[in-house]
């Protein structure tokens, strides 16, 4: 059959089955043609491409509306760290940059605070939130650090540390191979958390790790003492008495309080820098003629308050109040030293010398508005309140806070007690972190963190009451 004829025959059959759908199918004698007609009959049910596309669009629109976010996966059996940070949004961005974190989601309150967020680092979930003190959520920046460290494994810890440092993390322990099979380092983030980051180099049993540990211990004797951030002979807080007549002042405190000079050098701001021991404490003093003084009050515990009081008067101090028995169990007298400083000379009667928890020298600050200073001490310096007694009008008569191994006392400036603008030196484990925390709490930078020629890293801030706080730490020696 000529093709032309077949084309025409097929079309006739197609036209017939379209025109009369109920009629029996046309059945051409030609078997091949008959097969085409059967196909044509089936094609009467062919769906329209327009309909298929429209329905798909409809379904997609419906799915979009019904689309709930991917359900939060059931937590794996693992302990999930929950980090409280000041500025969770910034922390999330930081962890993305530093650790390649993926944000799983966040809740945002109308005030912009994030009460809950989840990120994933290398498959591990980490939860975090803004600090919300009203719910008992405090950040390391408020608490003065966190003892909790989070351990993360990465494929390439060296690359990770580079990336984290570029994002603003600080190395607190450089990466090296450890006996327990990890290549490992430690980082501190700007939010006060410490991260141990590792790459597993060897998969070891605990027994093998223990064997290596014991061998190391035998080799080295006792484990090396953790490096004390505080300089030998010092405590966390050292008052720095800035006076305009340093030579006269040194003569006075040596004569009055038996201070013993341990070190003298030209001061970094000119004048003289002197370090002195009084009893179990160290103070620093310095200054130059015309140099603005930084007056402070010193609570001084001695075995015999009366005799020291009289020695101070003899050395040139003016009496502030005569020694008397105080309701808090101390015998105490006060002098003004003529250089702007008050000395509260006390003997705790129960012990015959020191009050428990205090040393020979305890710096005492007299701000106007002691509550706001207390707030800065806590948030900016990580101080812990130990006691706080208030006058009937609500002002703070006497409070004490602990910073590291030292105590500071605070009492509202009033009447004859003039405001102090002290200078204090704090030995801290991490100068940069301490500086950042103090600035974050409202401290004004007076010295950026920098290494000093005398082997310490130092930074300074001034609080809103005019007190200067210098953070210092010995510079770690480069590993050889």
């Amino acid at each position: 059959m000529a093709e032309q004829t077949r084309i025409e025959q097929l079309d006739l059959a197609v036209q017939a089955l379209l025109d009369r759908p109920e009629a029996p199918l046309p059945a051409p004698a030609d078997a091949e043609l008959a097969a085409l007609v059967r196909l044509a009959a089936d094609l009467r049910d062919l769906p329209g491409t327009g309909f298929k596309a429209r329905l798909k669009t409809d379904l997609q629109r419906r799915a979009e509306m019904a689309s709930k976010p991917v359900p939060v996966p059931k937590p794996a059996p693992a302990a999930t760290p929950y980090l409280c940070v000041r500025d969770a949004a910034a922390a999330i961005e930081f962890y993305k940059k530093a650790f390649g974190a993926i944000e799983l989601g966040r809740l945002v309150q109308p005030d912009g605070k994030i009460p809950h967020a989840e990120i994933q680092v290398g498959g591990a979930t980490i939860m975090l939130a803004d600090e919300l003190p009203e719910y008992g959520f405090d950040s390391p920046q408020s608490l003065g650090g966190s003892p909790m460290k989070v351990h993360l494994f990465f494929d390439d810890v060296d690359a990770l540390v580079q990336q984290a440092v570029a994002a603003g993390a600080k190395i607190t322990r450089p990466v090296k191979d450890e006996f327990y099979g990890h290549r490992e380092g430690q980082l501190c983030d700007p939010f006060g958390y410490t991260w141990i980051v590792s790459t597993q180099k060897e998969a070891l049993t605990f027994a093998e790790i223990e064997r290596r540990f014991n061998a190391l211990m035998q080799q080295e004797g006792t484990p090396p003492a953790a490096k004390r951030p505080v300089r030998e002979g010092f405590h966390t807080v050292t008052p720095y008495l800035v006076v305009d007549r340093p030579a006269e002042f040194l003569a006075f405190i040596k004569q009055a309080f038996g201070a013993e000079e341990t070190f003298r050098a030209p001061g970094s701001a000119g004048g003289t820098h002197v370090e002195l021991r009084i009893g179990d404490s160290m103070i620093m003093a310095g200054g130059a003629p015309g140099h603005p003084a930084a007056p402070v009050a010193i609570h001084l515990y001695v075995p015999d308050a009366d005799s020291v009081y009289h020695r101070a008067i003899a050395a040139g101090a003016a009496s502030f109040y005569e020694p008397m028995d105080m309701p808090y169990g101390d015998r105490e007298g006060g002098v003004k030293d003529g250089f702007g400083n008050n000395w509260y000379i006390a003997t705790h009667k129960a012990t015959g010398h020191l009050r428990e928890g205090l040393r020979t020298v305890t710096p005492t600050l007299h701000p106007r508005g002691a509550d706001s200073l207390m707030d800065f001490l806590k948030r900016g310096l990580g101080a812990e309140e130990e006691s706080c007694e208030r006058l009937p009008d609500g002002t703070i008569a006497h409070a004490s806070v602990r910073i590291g191994d030292s105590v500071l006392e605070i009492g509202e400036a009033r009447g004859p007690i003039e405001p102090t603008t002290a200078m204090l030196l704090l030995y801290v484990p991490d100068v940069d972190a301490a500086y950042q925390r103090a600035v974050a709490a409202g401290g004004v930078s007076i010295e950026l963190p920098a290494n000093q020629p005398y082997g310490e890293r130092r930074a300074g801030v001034k609080d809103s009451h005019g007190n200067s706080w210098y953070f210092s730490a010995p510079i770690a020696r480069a590993a050889k």
């Binding site: 093709e3 084309i7 097929l10 079309d11 491409t49 409809d58 419906r62």
Partner: protein
């Protein structure tokens, strides 16, 4: 000639597709926006099944639409027990068709009447084959595809098509012939 489907066999899912399909279903259950992939996979067979059992194209489209909307809305209820997803869709379609006929019967005042020529005992192979044919149409060269769509979906005459496409009636008939021949060759 462009007749090879990129997926290989259009229509019937091969046994190896089970695992893939399971992943698609689970993805869509987690995120309904992923349902489109399942729709693409199953549209033709459900349409073929529905179209065979209702009187008009409009009804076929309405019911097919119902079936997929129901499937999307109830996707969470689908549990993978080894039966293919298509079986679940066929069941939804069968119920939708039954409802359709009951509704039609009530509207016509004949509440006992059901589907006129109930073909529930018919095997599903027929619809699988037809779905395959419908997919093959999508693989035809564009001009043949257009002619098939105009002729069988839009119900146009050879004359109307010739005018619309700017070809002779002979050319249109030839395209129709070639198209059916191609489909036959790959059936």
């Amino acid at each position: 000639m462009l007749l090879e489907s990129p997926r290989g066999e259009p229509g019937l899912p091969a046994p190896g597709h089970q695992q893939d399909e399971r992943l698609l279903v689970e993805a869509a259950q987690a995120d309904p926006r992923r349902f489109a992939a399942l729709y693409d996979l199953h549209f033709e067979r459900i349409y073929a099944y529905v179209a065979r059992r209702v009187g008009s194209r409009a009804e076929a489209e309405d019911l097919t639409s119902d079936v997929f909307h129901q499937a999307l809305a109830n996707l969470q209820r689908f549990e993978w027990r080894g039966a293919p997803f298509a079986a679940w869709l066929y069941r939804i379609a069968a119920n939708a068709i039954a409802d359709h006929w009951r509704r039609t019967a009530r509207e016509q005042g004949n509440p006992t009447a059901g589907e006129p020529s109930a073909t529930s005992d018919t095997g599903l192979e027929e619809f699988e084959l037809r779905a395959r044919l419908f997919r093959l149409v999508g693989e035809l060269p564009a001009d043949q595809q257009r002619v098939v769509e105009m002729r069988f979906v839009e119900g146009k005459s050879i004359r109307e098509m010739a005018l619309e496409l700017g070809r002779t009636e002979g050319a249109i008939k030839q395209l129709q012939f070639r198209a059916l021949g191609n489909l036959r060759a790959h059936e």
